[in-house]
């Protein structure tokens, strides 16, 4: 079982990808932990750490970075929304 990770808007462009499937390593149990894991890959992934007011959704619900993440979840990272 993996985690499906999605990126949107400016973050998607900065990373050069909109989606990734990742086997969740031991010790990563929150959205914030996953963000840190990805950002530690270095450029361009550090954009995950530098994006202002980074938002996260787990299973399509907006949550805080302390929200739990487990295998099978869909986790999305994106900048603040600007619709309407």
């Amino acid at each position: 079982m993996t985690v499906k990770i999605l990126f949107f808007a400016g973050l998607r462009e900065a990373l050069g990808t909109g989606t990734e499937a990742l086997a969740l390593p031991d010790g990563v149990a929150t959205a914030g932990g996953l963000r840190d894991l990805l950002a530690a890959r270095g450029d361009p992934w550090s954009a995950l750490a530098t994006t202002r007011n980074l938002r996260v959704a787990v299973n399509q619900q907006m949550v805080g970075l302390d929200a739990a993440v487990k295998s099978g979840d869909e986790v999305a990272f994106f900048p603040p929304v600007t619709g309407g």
């Binding site: 999605l6 399509q60 309407g84």
Partner: protein
């Protein structure tokens, strides 16, 4: 209630009429249309030309529709509403094009106005859409505005 995320344009008059069609208990329909502004002054067009030449709207398929439904459900819990319609366009749009439509039918105008503005304020801050503008200087993602957070926050204070 009905929520659509679509590339196609919409007919505001037909949508407004549909909310009260075949019923005689609707006294008020408040609605809102949001459009793409060329936004001359604020951006890079110091030469006076329209700074925003086009705009592309991205969304999160699935989550966006669910978020809009949830916002409408919240509005229905707060006010006495008879029908609600939300349409948000995605893809590439030009200045003057319609982006978003919200219409709320109620027996009374106070509920219709409040719910319509509430849905727009929440949509602006909670529904996953992102705008990228095309300008003479290149593409730029629109920054979220604090004034939108403020507008949405008003409703929490039990206004």
């Amino acid at each position: 209630m009905s929520v659509s995320v679509q590339q196609a344009d919409f007919d505001a008059g037909a949508e407004i009429a549909a909310l009260s069609a075949g019923r005689d208990d609707v006294g008020a329909v408040a609605s809102f249309v949001g459009l793409v502004r060329a936004d001359k002054a604020a951006r890079v067009g110091a030469d006076g030309t329209a700074a925003v030449q086009a705009m592309t709207l991205e969304h999160y398929p699935g989550m966006t529709e669910n978020a809009l439904q949830e916002i409408v459900t919240q509005a229905e819990a707060r006010w006495e509403l008879l029908a609600v319609r939300v349409i948000h366009r995605v893809g590439r749009l030009l200045p003057g094009d319609r982006i978003v439509f919200v219409a709320v039918a109620s027996s009374h105008r106070g509920d219709a106005f409040a719910a319509c503005e509430f849905i727009m304020d929440y949509l602006k801050t909670r529904a996953p859409f992102w705008k990228k503008e095309e300008t003479p200087a290149g593409g730029r993602w629109v920054d979220a505005r604090e004034s939108d957070d403020h507008a949405a926050g008003r409703w929490d204070a039990g206004k």
